[in-house]
């Protein structure tokens, strides 16, 4: 689908898809440097020339009596397009969804102006993608909504990123079960899979690290400012859990809410003589993101869950329950 990659073979569908966007744009633009066309559409100049020369041969009297005129000369492209291709192809369902979802999500990000250009652009997009001929009243969501709940400090950290301000953070580390003070320079704030993260230059480790914002107990600027880093990128594949160990647990219906809450590899109904068990139990396999999290999950599920594999995986939960119970003596 990509079309970004300028190397490698391109199939006919992708080439046509691009052309149907390129032709109306060229028509509108008049004369365009070939290099600009190539850059805009993520193609090489040779590919652009080849595809444009090809469509110049299209056009079929008597059904289509206008030819597509193409001149590529001195690194400049000029295209005259019959009225057939003067407008781009309508947005496909995936394209429409991608734009709506991106705009809705961006509207929920800190700093979004509810009356700003994005909101106005989104309203026009919603109207254009709207519900053909269906009376929608004042519904403006077109059925796509985004709800990003963000922890305290998020907005302050975004300001710190923009100004390069150093901050002092009281950070709770669940793996050590302690709060530590860390000095850091915030570089980027992002949200992924329901959590908010800060990418920051961490003084203690001397490295750029990712911190969970909801684990920050306190954030204060130190008054020091650092140069901005223009090359910051949020980590690409932040959650790659392929390497995590797996556990299989049997869940009674009361515990099955976790299927909708956490990443789960598979869900298999428990069978008794080839029919679903009357208990309604299912076996799920899931990644153990951390043993602390997993132990806690087992205690939360209590008697509604049973660890089937790996052996010994249930022990941590039992010990944790005993530790909590000690508080009640």
């Amino acid at each position: 689908m990509s079309g970004r990659s300028s190397a490698g073979p391109r199939n006919a569908q992708d080439r046509l898809r691009r052309l149907l966007v390129m032709l109306p744009w060229l028509m509108e633009a008049g004369e365009v440097p070939l290099a600009d066309v190539a850059e805009r559409f993520g193609m090489t100049e040779a590919q652009v020339t080849k595809d444009l020369e090809l469509v110049a041969m299209c056009g079929l009297p008597p059904y289509v009596d206008e030819m597509i005129d193409v001149f590529v000369d001195d690194g400049l492209v000029f295209v005259g397009v019959p009225r057939l291709f003067t407008r781009p192809l309508a947005l496909s369902a995936p394209e429409g969804f991608a734009l709506l979802a991106a705009a809705r999500l961006a509207m929920e990000l800190p700093g979004a102006d509810p009356d700003g250009p994005l909101a106005r652009g989104l309203a026009k997009l919603t109207a254009a993608l709207g519900e053909a001929g269906i009376e929608t009243g004042d519904d403006s969501t077109t059925g796509v909504a985004v709800d990003l709940h963000r922890p305290e400090w998020t907005d302050a950290l975004i300001d710190a990123v923009a100004s390069g301000s150093e901050v002092m953070v009281d950070y709770f580390s669940p793996s050590r079960d302690e709060v530590s003070q860390r000095r850091m320079v915030p570089r980027h704030v992002f949200t992924d899979a329901g959590n908010w993260y800060l990418l920051a230059d961490d003084e203690r480790s001397g490295q750029r690290r990712t911190f969970r914002i909801d684990r920050m107990e306190r954030v204060e600027t130190t008054g020091l400012a650092h140069p901005l880093d223009p090359n910051v990128q949020a980590p690409d594949a932040f959650f790659s859990d392929v390497d995590l160990p797996r556990a299989t647990i049997r869940l009674l219906p009361r515990a099955q809410w976790i299927i909708d809450r956490y990443p789960i590899d598979s869900v298999e109904p428990v069978l008794v003589r080839r029919r679903p068990a009357s208990s309604g139990a299912v076996d799920v396999t899931l990644p153990i993101a951390s043993t602390r999290w997993f132990d806690r999950l087992l205690v939360r599920l209590g008697p509604d869950a049973e660890v089937l594999a790996p052996s010994g995986a249930a022990r941590g939960g039992v010990e944790l329950a005993q530790r909590i119970l000690a508080n009640y003596d």
Binding site: L16, L109, D147, R218, R296
Partner: protein, 324 residues
Amino acid sequence: MADRVERLTNLLAVLLETRVPLPLSSIADAMVGQYPDEEGPRRQAFERDKLALREIGVPIEMEVRVGDEYAGQTMYRIDRAAYELAELDLAPDEMRALQIAVATVRTDSQVGTDAMLKIGGVAGVSDRPAVSAVLPDRPELPIIRSAVAARAPVTFTYRGDVRTVEPWGVLLRGGFWYLVGHDRLRDAKRTFRVDRIEGKLAVGDGRSFERPADFDPRTAFPADPKQIGHATDDSVEATVQISALRAAAAERELGAERVIERHGDGSIDVSVPATNLDAFRSWVIGLVDHAVVIGPPEVREYVVEWLRGASSPSVAGADSAASR
């Protein structure tokens, strides 16, 4: 033989230009020499092209003719109004804002960038915002959104059951996409996680239901599980002591007005809704040994019993083991 792009472009041109639907024979006549003469291979090549055009989003209309010289034949055309991008009339700052939105939101696919090219934006945006978000991508979502817009029911398998749902909207919350709608079989509002839908979605006829006028997916299910009460008005408030280490975080989550006592060692007592015992228990255990339920006695006893069950491995899961 002509380059496939050329043939596809010509086919597109013929179908766009024609005022009346055309049978394959006329299409092939118009595109002299580009389709095989023999009936079978010609049909095969045409079907392949038709599929290719459909896959890039070209709406090809088909009808089977009755009662004239073409009776029984399938006729084809493209409705230009459906083919062409609607005029969005975006102002330059609006276009730019949309572009930044697409750049800010990271997905696995290029679809958003492609869409920006279509509506006339540029592909790359140079200024990196200080904040970004990862948008989970699911192939079901565009289909569901279209079904919401068309008021068409969707049918799919979910946890082994076949469901037919009148889709009211999709919601991204907590990193997951949810479909919210009316489950016809259960005759009730239901929420489904989109990435748990098994296999393909089937879309029914449009305009076959009405969405509640005041529907907003964001309020379709409660944000705070502790607030999911049972159908009763007696609300139970529990007192929980939170250790100094987690006190600040708990106070931030619950609000200062829920702190009922501050102890000298930095720990605090908070008042928490416990009407829904399951949700309350889950929240307390999430704080592990940093939270102790002080009262009321029946709530404290309930949590203690639960922990006793979880701390003896022979009991844990014994019920489900019986179903083996």
